[in-house]
Symmetry: C2
Subunit: 497 residues, 2 copies
């Protein structure tokens, strides 16, 4: 191989304070590991020597302990875009040490090409293979690698021998032209391939290869519980009814499913349905539960941005790569989350909310208006453009001290205009075509936990007039009751006597 070999420390030595770095990967899948750990170590050394050292970090989505985790512990991240889920980084973001820009994941690449985001100087790309003429085989994610490689002055490759070179056949790499030259994305079905298997870069930009052999380190999700199982069942019963009514075509539509235990429970329930035919998925993150459905023949194929499966599951897949490489397509997030495609294919979009309010506004990101949890991720790319947009959440949290349904969400990520259906373990609220008062009635009757029904009816009664019957003096009374007393049930909306 013609490229220079670098140790992780040698690679990290290239990185300067204030540098804009773009990483491959999406979730922990496909993210560089050794170089970022070495950058974190360098940051600690620089800080110990009394010198400032922070980088601006651009990724596909969240990363892993070796990246956001290590860099956050070293307080080595100034700007961070577009998504994270690291406990250590979250602490820095909420503490004001890291400036985090939470954005739609389909927007990042084009915004950087447009000049609306800082341009990355260095791209660090995990690869399963690299040829002398600059053809990179990405590992387990599409991410923003095509754009970061295009814009970067230099590229560091982490060549990870843990992954087979045959992964190339899973990838469908495509980057649209930018306005005014952009053309229609020619993708018209979830299993349609429109790009290339490898990412071609200018080999002159490749400054070196860091050799690794390390899995993504993804653990299995914990099993569902009665609440998530009931949410999954409620979603599926609703979809079965829509199918019966002819509101969903008889051949069904592709599924997009968010990440986490509720998403897993929904997928498991879809797997068990006798009414819903075998289906395709066009989604962002491919989790273990999707692979299980593929083994069962319930999910025919899946296109997504990342193969975020547990190390054990991935090892199994690699043993049966011929089966999976014809049924799994990995795409850059600009394509997996693209509004044009989401609307064209007519996705059934199922995502998780932190909070939903009486009028169908959704909070996906913040606790009590202030503390960032993870970020909006791709939920907005899908929710806005889906054929049917479903948000799920348990009706209560913290043993009932928090209601997930509140008068007004404390942070707005998805507006009433983008939310069709709300599902909790209590039931299903269909908000489509309804005015705010009718939406509130539907949500209180079907989704709210019994402990909170009267309280929310009391809130509605405060304001007999107005299109959206909010009372700005009391809209956060439940939140403030929790902050003050530790229990939202202590809120009081009864009129003064």
């Amino acid at each position: 191989m013609k490229y220079q070999t670098l140790t992780p420390d040698e690679a990290a030595a290239l990185i300067e304070n204030g540098e804009n770095i773009g990483l491959s990967g999406f979730t922990a899948a496909g993210v560089p590991k050794a170089t970022t750990r070495a950058i974190a170590k360098k940051a600690e050394e620089e800080h110990a020597a009394g010198r400032p050292f922070k980088i601006n970090l651009f990724t596909g989505a969240s990363t892993s302990a070796s990246t956001d985790g290590a860099l956050a512990k070293a307080n080595a991240v100034d700007q961070r875009t577009p998504y994270q889920s690291s406990p250590d980084l979250r602490k820095n973001i909420n503490g004001g040490h890291t400036r985090y820009n939470d954005m739609h994941l389909s927007h990042t690449a084009q915004y950087m090409r447009y000049g609306a985001l800082p341009r990355v100087k260095t791209a660090i790309i995990e690869a399963a293979n690299i040829t002398d003429d600059g053809e990179i085989t990405l590992t387990t994610a599409g991410g923003n690698s095509p754009t970061y490689c295009k814009l970067a002055d230099r590229i560091i490759i982490e060549l990870n021998s843990y992954h087979p070179k045959e992964l190339r056949e899973m990838h469908d790499i495509y980057m649209p032209l930018d306005p005014p030259h952009r053309e229609p994305l020619p993708l018209i079905a979830p299993d349609h391939r429109i790009g290339t298997h490898t990412l071609k870069v200018d080999p002159a930009k490749i400054v070196g290869i860091v050799h690794t052999n390390e899995p993504d380190g993804i653990g299995a999700f914990k099993d569902g519980d009665p609440v998530t199982d009931k949410i999954g069942e409620n979603v599926v019963v609703f979809l079965e009814e829509e199918l019966k009514k002819g509101k969903i075509p008889a051949s069904f539509l592709p599924i997009q499913s968010g990440v986490g235990n509720i998403a897993n429970a929904v997928l498991a329930a879809l797997g068990r349905s006798q009414e819903i035919p075998p289906f395709k998925m066009y989604t962002e993150v491919i989790q273990d539960s999707v692979i299980d459905l593929m083994k069962q023949g319930r999910c025919i194929m899946v296109g997504g941005c990342s193969l975020t499966v547990s190390d054990g599951m991935l090892a199994d897949m690699y043993k049966d790569l011929d089966f999976f490489k014809s049924r799994v397509i990995l795409r850059p997030q600009e394509l997996s989350n693209n509004p044009e495609i989401v609307r064209r294919l007519g996705l059934i979009c199922i995502n998780t909310a932190i909070e939903v309010d009486l009028f169908g506004q959704v909070n996906s990101t913040h606790f009590f208006g202030k503390q960032m949890m993870n970020g909006i991720g791709g939920s907005g790319d899908f929710a806005r453009n889906g054929y049917l947009t479903i948000f799920t959440c348990p009706s209560i949290a913290k043993g009932g001290a928090i209601s997930s349904i509140v008068p007004m969400v404390s942070h707005h990520d998805h507006t009433e205009h983008d939310v069709d259906i709300v599902v909790t373990e209590q039931g299903v609220a269909d908000l489509r075509g309804k005015c705010p008062r009718d939406r509130a009635k539907e949500i209180i009757e079907n989704c709210v936990h019994p402990d909170y029904r009267q309280l929310l009816l009391d809130y509605m009664a405060l304001t007999p007039q107005g299109h959206t019957p909010h009372n700005l003096g009391k809209a956060f009374e439940m939140h403030n009751a929790f902050l003050g007393t530790g229990d939202m049930r202590n809120a009081n909306f009864a009129p003064a006597e």
Copy 2:
């Protein structure tokens, strides 16, 4: 002509209580007039006779005094979708007499075809011409007419001889297939035509023709004032700088511009710019100011959903139809506002906000969280998908008693994830890539009225920690100060002594 002629009263007599009606048009342009007035009269007669009579009304957007106005005065509207701007209807919506579903204007047609909205039984379509085999020439708007005609059991035509039949050449009528059969929209430039000049319907559905001769009745907008002029100038100086920096391609990009006096001032300023080359527009509503720019050669062509020009301007255009019919394209709103096209063409999107908050969330619809003004309209279709999304507003209203920039907007229509640039007469805030604290700093320094700067800095100081430094106990303190005292400046964020 083979169709039956109906008087407006005969047409109205066909309409039953509770019926779902779809209208042609978008804004006052192209909306039926005589039949809707007659339906309002029928409603009054029915109510006088002690019988219930309300219809469910589906339109393109807002309508006119002959439609929403007359029907609202007769309290004849139960459900109303997707947009309105009628003072009388607004009263009914806020009073709880009309159930209004405020939605993205590109969504209505497909949602009705999907079965997510009630299906219209009757379509009432204003036409400049109709042939015996059912080819309709629409008048001054594309609207949702293709879908309403497709789904309706019966069609009433208002044949309005005020409009020349040659209007057919302005229209580009296209309806996408629905999932799973939808294909890429083949439109790749604002002046590209992909559809037909006329709307072909089954002639057997046409139950009669109501003959009219009546203009749309649109008055000229009032002239700009120093505040709107300064906003326009600020937008244009910003765009000129972006162009110089190469962040906008040298050939410029198509403009989308909202409706109203600020939009007119922005367009006028674009017209005066020496730096910005002649440009194309891909927009929703085509106002007088666009036609002025076309006459000056500053706007080369415009594609939109409606020709919402004053009666005098339209009369002028009809005298010079050869010039305009090659430069104006009218499209259904499913196409004019389509996310796929908006993102592909890379529109510069300029829309007006009612309120903006420190973190870039935008309220386009409500006063004080409760009272509906008009609706979100197409602003979300454009804002989410534009190359560059700009929201404009004056920094203050009501002589300074209201600040348009507040700690938290009282209703959320566009989230922080969809807002790039905020412009007031004070200046320009560039929010792109910034974290919430940096956005707040940028907005306070550049957009907030001097009367409110310290107050908003005081709000920020309440919460030193947290990604988004909100204080849920005080987030609406300025709104509540106005509600309580008539002036937001009476809010107090100083820490207790």
